[in-house]
Symmetry: C2
Subunit: 467 residues, 2 copies
């Protein structure tokens, strides 16, 4: 099952940079690298120790392609578990291409997406959920998703599943043994202990399944619907939220990422802001498509931010304006009674103390702030964070973020419920044994103890080349 050929790929992002890394893995990785490498000290790579670095040139016949540093890793002490070479070359795309082409001619094959990690899995360096976490880790762009991926990659999730699976397997073998002695009517498996185990498994599975709602949202960013018309200061507010976070990274030239305007990281958690058209039109066209769409977007969101069209009139408060805001606010609350809702009044700096008091009396829930002066922005951040159930995150609990795992957990829970029912109603052991096997199968699917080519193909196709 484990392939014997040597694969090669660029492991660093494509494009020009100071350094690029070309990775080779496979039984013949070291002799292949040796055939194109001329060490400065006339060293032979094959006879070098693992985890050593060597300066020299990549040569194609009489032509020198580049001065490089070569890292030697000898299996099983490598990422893939195989012999591995990493060539650190100058980061020109021309050099990258030339070296890869040379290695292809020398007997390497272009690696498929995720093939290095697939080999790590096949060689037992990682289980399947850990391998999946590698891809999550690379695509994580905030503290929360990074932390979850990191925990999963280090085996947090697998350990929990593997432990339950082993206990269940013990009981399964005892029950299967009973079936062999079916005519003698013996009970090797202690039914009370077994029931206790099933309860424990059920409890853990339910907790993991519940965590998916949080996990999924953290992985993809927490959706926040901003309800408000274009001119109420949405972008000023987004900028006010964004600016501080941005300042942290802006001095690291070359590492700042392209900012997608509507995605922010607040307190290490990613938020996705969904712009809506507002619901002011309702007064005129209750059934209009616009308002329909706004409600659909609110439905998808975890939190609603209502930017009120409250406008300072200079000195005296406009009763009509307040009334209008109250009506809209009530409308959202009635439509989505369970959805966390923040109502905001911007431009606090333009109101008099009297007016502020008046507003607070009329709309007690309102958060008055000044996006321009950054006043009240921290309070908004705290409110946003408080709505996110990150208790599990803070307590370092295992959080499920992967739809495939979620699916397997649901199926496993279903089977465990069947086993429990069979046990409680004294159904025959052979039916119970079948259900236990099914549950074990689904556990195994998560960690990769049970697997098939199609599943592996699907998982690793989502990786980048070179990983």
């Amino acid at each position: 099952m484990i392939p014997q050929d040597s694969i090669v790929a660029l492991a660093t992002p494509s494009g020009a940079g100071a350094i690029a890394i070309i990775r080779i893995s496979g039984q013949d990785a070291i002799p292949i690298a040796d055939s194109v490498f001329k060490s400065i000290k006339n060293k032979n790579l094959v006879s070098q120790k693992t985890h050593t670095l060597h300066l020299g040139h990549i040569v194609d016949g009489s032509k020198t392609l580049d001065e490089v540093l070569v890292s030697v890793f000898k299996g099983p002490n490598s990422y893939t578990g195989e012999n591995t070479i990493e060539i650190s070359c100058h980061g020109s795309t021309y050099i990258q291409q030339q070296i890869i082409q040379l290695l292809l001619r020398k007997g390497c094959r272009m690696a498929d997406a995720g093939e290095f990690t697939l080999r790590a899995f096949l060689n037992g360096k990682l289980d399947l959920s850990q391998a999946e976490a590698v891809a999550d880790l690379i695509s994580s762009d905030n503290e929360a998703s990074h932390q979850i991926a990191m925990q999963q990659m280090r085996g947090g999730f697998s350990n929990e599943i593997a432990k339950l699976r082993e206990e269940l397997l013990n009981f399964a073998s005892l029950i299967e043994l009973e079936l062999d002695f079916a005519e003698e009517d013996v009970e090797f498996a202690d039914r009370t202990q077994f029931h206790e185990l099933l309860n424990r498994i059920e409890f853990v599975l339910k907790r993991l399944i519940d965590s998916f709602a949080v996990g999924n949202v953290i992985k993809n960013g927490i959706p926040v619907a901003i309800v408000g018309e274009p001119n109420v200061g949405k972008s000023t507010l987004l900028n006010a939220l964004l600016n501080e976070e941005r300042a942290i990274v802006s001095h690291i030239a070359g590492t700042t990422r392209d900012t997608i305007e509507d995605e922010l990281v607040i307190g290490g958690i990613g938020f996705r802001f969904i712009d809506t058209a507002g619901i002011r039109e309702t007064k005129d066209y209750v059934e209009s498509i616009g308002i329909q769409k706004t409600f659909e977007k609110i439905e998808q969101a975890q939190v609603v931010l209502y930017l009120s069209p409250l406008t300072p009139k200079g000195g005296t408060l406009d009763a009509e304006n307040i009334k209008e805001v109250q009506i809209e606010f009530e409308k959202i609350k009635n439509q989505f009674p369970l959805k966390p809702l923040i109502i905001i009044g911007n431009k606090k700096d333009l109101y008099s103390d009297n007016e502020i008091e008046h507003i607070k009396k009329e709309i007690p829930e309102i958060l008055l702030l000044s996006a321009k002066n950054k006043e009240g922005v921290d309070e908004l951040k705290n409110q946003l964070l408080s709505f996110v159930n990150t208790g599990a995150l803070r307590n370092n609990e295992t959080i499920v973020t992967n739809t495939r795992h979620y699916d397997s957990l649901l199926k496993a829970l279903d089977e465990i419920s069947k086993v429990k029912y069979a046990l409680e109603t004294n159904l025959s052991s052979d039916l119970m044994a079948l259900d236990i096997r099914e549950a074990l199968y689904h556990f195994g699917m998560i960690t990769g103890q049970v697997t098939n080519d199609e599943l592996l193909g699907n998982i690793f196709a989502n990786f980048c080349i070179g990983k």
Copy 2:
């Protein structure tokens, strides 16, 4: 002069990938890395040998940022000549940022553009022209420019200059010695030998200066003007030229670069195709702006490709059409008698044998081809290459590509001519000594034996961060 602080930067291209490399260089690079690194085998980085790799985690207090491989290089055996650490982490931008921020907090400073290579220069690992070649190497995108940069980085150019400089220096010291004994009228420097040396220097300088025309063009791509109206098949022809070259790189996923339609690499040499509007309008508006612009572009080009508007009429040849092509062709030849010119008739596949014979009789210089069927495309490539003076390239001669070097060489030649004149006309030795010193100064500017902060600032500002 050599800075003592430790600098850090991302060395791989920005963006997400399988692997990213963060590089630290400076006296305290290893202890700083040690303070955030937890080796799997509980190893202390400071006590490790140079050129070794270590698996472990980057930790920020109780938080684990990533599982990484750390390379240890001890000065002077490193790129910069200083203690250097390379952290190979997972390629998420979040992780890159977090690790760099952590290192900044631990006492590193963000590296300026090219600062690693600047330090390599200051520590005597590279001379200035070699350091400049590093940037050229990274930006090289074809075989020719890569080969020149590689040769320069390996010291080809510097060696040639340094050798001449040393010989000149010998004579200079003898002549300065003569000045000390001016009243005794002695001659320590053999005038015949000196004259011979000056001739040799002059010869080399002239050759290097001449090579700049080729070098500059190779570095930036050889400009080829395509004269022809939009509908004569320009893009089909460009595609025919491009396709084969493209096929070579297309199977290397992740490494193919964005193709700029008008830049091709043929036989390892870069060509820049400059589209012109054609000159057909001349019959109507001799002084039109369009034709003026076409001529300006032809002026800038090294080679002219004239795509004739010759069209097969099916069976019989159109005498009018041939006449028209002849007139245009003659016009270009007369305007630019020294500029290499290729005249092309496309769609060869649509002509009968008789017609082909007829065309060849009327326009003997024409290259008939079929871009669609790829017939004659190789011949065109060979013709394009034959116009490029790459003799020097093939003979591995030193080629100057850098405007700064070109400038210094011109100045040095000027001074050498003055010295020669002084020698031939028996001018006083003290004037000659001044000119020699000037020549030595310009030689030194190339290799960096003579330098100043402003010059270094200008050179390294063009580097990418992390190099």
